[in-house]
Amino acid sequence: MYPIADYTEARTLEEAIEQLSSNPGLLIIAGGTDLLIKLYHGKLDTVQLLSLRQIKSLQIITENGDGSISIGSLSTFKEIGGHPIVQQGIPILAEAAMAMGGPQIRSMATIGGNICNGIPSADSAPALFALNAILKLQSKEGERAIPIQEFYRGPGQVDLKQGELLTEILITPDNYQHFGGCYIKFSMRKAMDIATLGVAATCKLNGTARFGQVRIGLGVAGPTPLRCTLAEEYAVGKAVNGLTIAEIGKIAVQSAKSRTSWRASKEYREHLIEELTQRALTTAITRAGGVIDYA
């Protein structure tokens, strides 16, 4: 029995926003896979919940006329992992989605919840960072759209204003078309685990032998998910070979803000960033149709 004093089911987005603005004490629940566990551990006192579960408009995954892909914030990890639009357009996100938890959790957990909780180990985050995802937020005052990088403010802190709801995650075509990508979740177990490090690498090539753009998103490498901008800048225009990839791995570490915890040491995390960035990028290059010169 969870300490839930009040529970309301919103039928539409408008209704949810209305409720939320009239009662600032409401907590949002969707899949519940994070919130209920917090309640179980006594991290929250008695709560009043506003459920978004019935809002069909937030559950849609679609490709828009301009080629951008919209993911409703209420989409579950199972839906994202199995959706043809995601699998074909942004397979790196499908890969990340399927690395999360286990099947029963993926059937419940929503991507919106994963993002709004602001945890640095969120499985969706490195890929969404690498995809330059835009978050659409709705409140009584209207809608705003911000890049996901700006949404994460600190550990457990996100730029979600009072009365605001995350409605949609948007990936524009310039951020996925002609890119190859790869997500590596490094964890102690192959399922039901929290990432020790998450690395998402995407790249677009000039021809098959030169890097056009490279993007590297990391999870659990700092207080928030982050991008390795130094390494990305370094890569532009460089030859696709073993040396470049190794250098990118090294530089990627400079963007990280790893620390030692009982789960892993700073030294080990940094070593993993260097190594796994290379591995993720290597796969991403192949998926982008590139050929790596190891000579």
């Binding site: 089911e9 566990i37 938890g101 286990g102 099947p103 419940m108």
Partner: protein
């Protein structure tokens, strides 16, 4: 806060007034005395409490009972039909997939959703599909065999 909910459980309609904080697991076990779904961790890590909600396996310990409103729930008690075990359950028995039995209902639930999906599954797919369940007795070996055997039939 009290809520009235109606749902189907193993083919039977139920309507009841529940507390908003109650989990589906609590409703099944304490109100309906369907104790086949087990409590192992209470946070969705072990899968012992899995049931089918509209055909999808979920962990009922982190599933609010209010969410069951209007849905079709199948618990382990609803898998055997007319007192006869399903093909999958027979395979669990025949392949020695059961030891202490505490995790068994959860595994059967998730595997049933696979078997009934009509899709093709490789051994790796079966393992992926069962990865949300922990078992400490069997090393999973005979569970995989039982599910594979059923899928091959």
């Amino acid at each position: 806060m009290l809520k009235e909910i109606s749902f189907t459980i193993n083919g039977k309609k139920e309507t009841m007034t529940i507390n908003a904080g109650e989990t589906l697991l609590e409703v099944l076990r304490e109100r309906l005395h369907l104790t086949g779904a087990k409590k192992g961790c209470e946070v969705g890590e072990c899968g012992a409490c899995a049931v089918l909600v509209d055909g999808t396996a979920i962990n009922s310990c982190i599933y609010l009972a209010v969410w069951a409103d209007g849905r079709e729930i199948v618990s382990i008690e609803g898998i055997a039909k007319g007192g006869l075990p399903s093909k999958l359950q027979e395979a669990f028995i025949a392949e020695g997939a059961i030891q202490c039995g505490y995790c068994t209902p959860g595994f059967v639930i998730s595997a049933t959703s696979m078997v009934e999906s009509g899709k093709c599954y490789s051994k790796e797919d079966v393992k992926q599909g069962l990865a949300g369940h922990l078992c400490r007795c069997t090393g999973y070996q005979n569970i995989i065999r039982a599910v594979m055997k059923t899928l091959e039939q």
